[in-house]
Symmetry: C4
């Protein structure tokens, strides 16, 4: 395999779809949000993306079968004129951070593909790493252009104004490269501590995207995962407190401690 390749199972009959991205990243926020959206809309998988820039391994499934790491394209055909057709992408992985060239190659192929279906608008979803978090995670937003920013000014988001800040990976590149192709888009990132599977942040981001798409999304499943997330967070904090107390050196045990470094 010399180039990223897309295996197409079906050519959906969709028109001017919005391309929504939710790939693995900080807190798995984007992936969780995308998976939940796919589930609630009952979106149908129609293509798979494989890349020689992904990790050189296969992943084992519970049924003992294996697959290369991949991204998956789903489509949803809008039932009426109030809603837009959608292409949603999620998957196992992004290109590892050491391979910038691979990131550009893969995102370029994604855009080539969705352009075939007439895509002109993009929404990317992910997590925004914060060192600590109290209360509900906010959703930060950034846009390809001021017209799109204006269109979304009513949303319950915080516009990013951190000049020089970055959005790394597909969530950023899809907008950056899409912009050069005349596309427009927005990126919604939920504040997250980053080291857990953050369903709270995913719910926050998906709520905003649901508003954008004028969809009612039942968040129950995500709520359940969000409660699990809070439990895990509490446990992690307890463990950290315990580890800290354990690390304080005890007078008189100096040599023994050093023996275990």
């Amino acid at each position: 395999m010399k180039e990223t390749m897309i295996v197409v199972y079906e050519k959906p009959d969709i028109y001017d779809p919005i391309f929504i991205e939710g790939l693995p990243g900080i807190g798995l926020v984007g992936k969780l949000a995308a998976e939940h959206l796919i589930q609630e809309l009952n979106a149908k998988k129609f293509a798979e993306l494989y890349s020689p820039h992904f990790m050189h391994q296969v992943i084992v499934k519970k049924d003992s079968t294996v697959d290369l790491m991949r991204n998956e394209f789903y489509y949803w055909k809008s039932p009426d004129d109030e809603h837009r057709d959608l292409i949603i992408i999620t998957g196992d992985t992004q290109v590892p951070p050491t391979d910038s060239y691979g990131h550009f190659e893969v995102v370029g192929k994604m855009l080539d593909f969705v352009e075939q279906f007439g895509t002109r608008e993009i929404i990317t979803m992910g997590g925004y790493q914060v060192p600590e978090l109290e209360g509900e995670p906010r959703v930060l937003a950034a846009f390809t252009d001021l017209e799109t920013k204006e269109k979304y000014k009513h949303l319950p988001v915080v516009f990013r104004e951190d000049e020089g800040g970055a959005i790394v990976g597909a969530a950023g590149l899809l907008l950056g490269i899409g912009k050069l192709r005349g596309m427009k888009g927005a990126c919604f990132l939920g504040e997250s501590l980053g080291y857990i599977v953050d369903a709270k942040a995913a719910k926050a981001v998906l709520s905003v995207v649901a508003q954008v798409l004028n969809l009612e999304i039942d968040m129950s499943a995500l709520d359940e995962r969000a409660k699990e997330t809070e439990e895990i967070l509490k446990k992690v904090q307890e463990m950290q407190r315990a580890m800290f107390e354990q690390q304080m050196p005890q007078p008189g045990h100096e040599e023994e401690d050093r023996g275990y470094l």
Copy 2:
């Protein structure tokens, strides 16, 4: 050399061969198993694979000649209808872990090559890293599809069910990429501590593969190596015990110890 290249010495007259892979990896399990199989079957080398993705060096032989690092293809023509023709690959190296793109390129070229002979089935062999091991190493199995899993359900193997676990390198990629080309296959990994040349695990894996191929393989040579493996393991454990005792700081020798860090 800009691409992986295969030098062909002979075009064997084989039909619908099974492609068996045993390249260097954990515990050298796959390589030992493949080498032993080649020896016992008296399989004949018919092609060599070289790659610009391998380490940029030549290897010195005992007779003072040098060669690039390479993989070697052997074939075995079945003597009757009870057995399948085989292509076996083993060699000096796989692509280093920092070059995912290289892994995909090399495995792609391997499959291009064996497809020319009508290959539709693949068996890959290797080691499965475990932190400790008591008794005989088990053989873990994974498959391209449920049909193949069903076909092999009678084997004395443990089906992997570790959802999200990975098989890195050729042993995994051959199945993953092969699958996209309509091929079917199985991967057999012998539990191994990983840091020694593990003939015990190799024997375990090869016994399973021999069953799959309906072959009687004389394991004497591997048994010999397996005994050597156990000796080495015992010695290593003794050394570890001695090192541990030596590391405990002795009271009064603090400054001297630090001088040698």
Copy 3:
């Protein structure tokens, strides 16, 4: 995106322009100098360079829009026969240091582009890392050939004679590759401590380049930034002194200190 690409907004009517480079590097000296020159000349942006070898991210602006990292080409049309037309390049980034191939590819594309406008001469600007600096930073110079060196011998610069020394990145490669294409050029580097935004060094370099171009450049804005630079430098030195005093171990507190390592 598989190759570095240049998006052209306008084809300026310029003749035999001098190509001036000031991209991010040591002390951001080159970039500051280029930005100031662009500002004072009111040079006009006419093209943007994007590359799959840049970091795989977009940068957030204060107005919440995002862009890929890029370099920008500006042109200035000389008002009379005493001055030369100019193409000036500056931007967000250079290729990261781990990707030598990317550096060559990007600079090659830059030269392909400016050659279309008849460019035969190059001036590159940057910082020269020094461990400490007293008084005004000197400007070090190097050239593609002895004829150019002779042409510039009257400048208030120090000719580099450090045989085997290197000029890394675009500032060096533009001259090295340009040379192979029959172009001529000079590189002017201002001594800089490197870890701050060094407007003093930028001013020193730009003063030399202004002389080369026979331009009067108002340095006021750079002067302002230079004063800020000196303030920051003083603060950093104070912080370093304070940190040093804090690091000295206090007798009797040995165990506590080690506890925080």
Copy 4:
């Protein structure tokens, strides 16, 4: 620059030349040997090799001019039938060790080039890293094939028999890839501690190569450098002894020492 390129200044009238390589490596042994040979034979430079796989920098010369890093081809036309025409390559650099693909690409281009002149035989020169060295450095040899080994069995060299040992970089790859193209060759490596400019080892290797080529090479200049090498070695050993004594912790000065870590 997308590929390694060779700039040709002259097409020498040579026949069936032996290609001799001496590029930077361990102890700079190969480079020193090649440079001395070029000097003594008064060989003429006729081509330069540049590569996007070399470090992305230019090197400053004492006269303030700069050049990309490069390799240089020299030729020597034999004066009679007793001697062979020669192509000698030396230069600033090899491809960095992190870029295996680059090594193969560059060596492939070198061989493409010298094949144009009818090259069928290769001699590579370099250093062989040893931890310590007493007396004169030995010259270790390895070959593409047994016929060549037989041809050189009379030389005062030690045939390498370290099965599995490696020769990294151009010195090895030229033989490995050359072999695939039907060429024959030998590699001569002088034992060297590796961290100094080792003129002693260079002299040892060049003496052997001179014998192979049936040339009388005046070694005076290398002898001079060899004496300098010995002086440097003595100084380094003294420094190491002094540093070691300084490192031993002095009782009562524990806190001060740690303050300077």
